[in-house]
């Protein structure tokens, strides 16, 4: 009976997924509970800030620069038709600060730092380092997971801000320096249109949420990975796929909540 078999498989997978969601939630709660230790030994977080934040710096800044340059070019081409090239700064800045900064930085962060986190923790598990810690009465969640989580949460908004800043300079470079849009109107219209609370702080809030989600997914996938070479590689792939989807879906929800409808 292939039909019965299919239904069985679907049911099995659904139950499995629900099971994993429950486990992930418990894991997330444990991370929060045990994170006090990480803050008391801040050096652990500093070390992770280096490998997640500092190491992602170059890719974030270069990507931001190029995204801003493309926005400047495309925006100019479109705005020129309506004779409003002076609004180029507004377009570049709002696009970056509200959407592209948090989202693209989070996507890059997921594939640059998230996958590394998953692979590292998965390998720690495969080589029984985590079991060894438990034997020594060291809580692996407090020692390994929580510092990485907070490092990710701290570095994500900073990286998103750098992405936006680099992007605006990219847009400035293409729009003002190369094409020759008026510099004064580029900056002054931008300043008139971008609101600190409504646009910049909401962007920071977005990237904070993305930081929580991406690191939580990456850490859980690593901690939950089957302790084999194949298991670790699959977990790494799942981290990138799941967190990218989560970022894009959450972005829609957050945008609808922050900017949707009511002006």
């Amino acid at each position: 009976m292939p039909v019965a078999k299919t239904i069985q498989v679907i049911g099995h997978r659904t139950i499995n997924a629900v099971w994993r969601i429950g486990m992930a939630t418990r894991f997330f709660a444990l991370t929060l509970v045990y994170s006090g230790n990480g803050f008391r030994r801040f050096r652990l977080i500093t070390k992770e800030l280096f490998s997640t934040g500092v190491m992602s710096l170059i890719i974030i800044i270069v990507a931001g620069l190029f995204v801003g340059m493309v926005l400047g070019l495309q925006g100019y081409e479109t705005l020129k038709r309506y004779g409003s090239e002076s609004a180029l700064g507004v377009m570049v800045a709002l696009g970056l600060v509200r959407e592209l900064g948090p989202v693209v930085a989070a996507l890059l962060f997921a594939s640059r730092a998230g996958s590394a986190m998953t692979a590292e923790i998965g390998l720690m598990k495969a080589t029984e380092q985590i079991d060894a810690m438990e034997l020594m009465a060291i809580n692996p969640i407090a020692r390994i997971i929580a510092p990485r989580f907070w490092a990710g949460v701290i570095s994500m908004p900073l990286l998103a801000a750098m992405f936006s800043a680099a992007g605006i300079f990219g847009g400035y470079f293409v729009g003002v320096v190369q094409i020759g849009v008026d510099e004064g109107s580029f900056w002054s219209q931008m300043q008139a249109a971008v609101d600190f609370k409504h646009d910049i702080l909401n962007g920071v809030l977005k990237s904070f949420v993305f930081g929580v989600v991406v690191t939580a997914i990456a850490l859980f996938e690593g901690y939950d990975a089957p302790p084999t070479a194949e298991g670790v590689s699959r977990a790494t792939t799942r981290t990138v796929v799941t967190s990218s989807l989560a970022i894009l879906m959450l972005d829609f929800v957050l945008t609808a909540m922050m900017f949707g409808g009511s002006e």
Partner: protein, 154 residues
């Protein structure tokens, strides 16, 4: 606690991130032009606010003197009640006229304050009596067409 090179890098990262945020706030956003000075609230009733939105600017002689903080419909008069917060540095006579103007032909709408000659000044919570509603482009076009039709009928 000994210092290490790692701390230096992490410190640089955090400083660069905060610098980017400050740059966004100052150079890109409007934080540098935010009025930290105190404000006072006044109200005005308009029969039609057109496309006026909260946070729209209030100008007098072209100078930004405040912002619209709220727009609601007053169900006793069936008129739009606009709450404005004005900069404390600027005082206006009580017979000031508030009219809704448009920046450019299709630009955004703002409130222009034309001061009167009264020697008493508006106080917080008071109401601007003389207002002029928004110019609605469709109404103007309608009037124009009617007047043309009238002219040809005669």
């Amino acid at each position: 606690m000994e210092r290490s090179k790692l701390d230096l890098w992490v410190g640089m990262f955090v400083v660069a991130g905060i610098a980017a945020l400050v740059m966004l706030a100052m150079k890109v956003g409007n934080l540098s032009t935010y009025n930290v000075s105190e404000t006072y609230q006044v109200q005005a009733f308009f029969s039609n606010v057109g496309g006026l939105k909260p946070k729209a600017s209030i100008r007098s002689a072209g100078v930004l003197v405040g912002r619209v903080t709220g727009i609601s419909l007053d169900t006793e008069r069936y008129e739009a009640k606009v709450t404005m917060s004005l900069d404390k540095r600027y005082q206006f006579p009580r017979d000031t006229i508030a009219n809704i103007q448009t920046a450019g032909l299709l630009g955004e709408q703002y409130i222009g304050l034309a001061p009167g000659g009264d020697s008493e000044m508006l106080k917080a919570g008071e109401q601007i009596k003389k207002t002029q509603s928004a110019m609605v482009l469709e109404d103007l076009i309608g009037k124009f067409i009617y007047s043309k039709a009238d002219a040809t009928a005669q």
